[in-house]
Symmetry: C2
Subunit: 89 residues, 2 copies
Amino acid sequence: MVEPPRGWQMREKPATLFRRFEFDRYAATRQFLDDLAALAEELGMHPQNINFGATYVNVTLEASVPGEGIGPAELAFAERVNALIRAEG
Amino acid sequence: MVEPPRGWQMREKPATLFRRFEFDRYAATRQFLDDLAALAEELGMHPQNINFGATYVNVTLEASVPGEGIGPAELAFAERVNALIRAEG
């Protein structure tokens, strides 16, 4: 059993990693969304779904190989997303 | 009964306007998301929810006054969103 990065939930059928991020104002939400888009472009790997409102962003990563479980690429992506939050303070 | 702008669906309980936009590649999705964020900031009015993946964006606008129906502000916002698509063409 793979251990998810801090704050992320492992979900099954299909295998995904999910985390909800909350912000105190829209400007912080927007900054996170922009940083997340830059990260996705850097890694050439796009979240399966991003769901957001003014003060929250839900991120879902799916297994890159259909039918396979969450692998090292998804775990590394999730860790990098966590690092965005730390960098933004 | 208010008529929704082209492509938008009126939904009830709570009253919302919904439209799904599809794109042929991530770069077009990203352009639309950036333009939508700029529009929201210009109008000081943020969609209740935006839900997107690599090639689609679902936009939900809620009535700005809780308990009220969709009003002129939401209809005008939806028309402006439609105009983004035409401008990006």
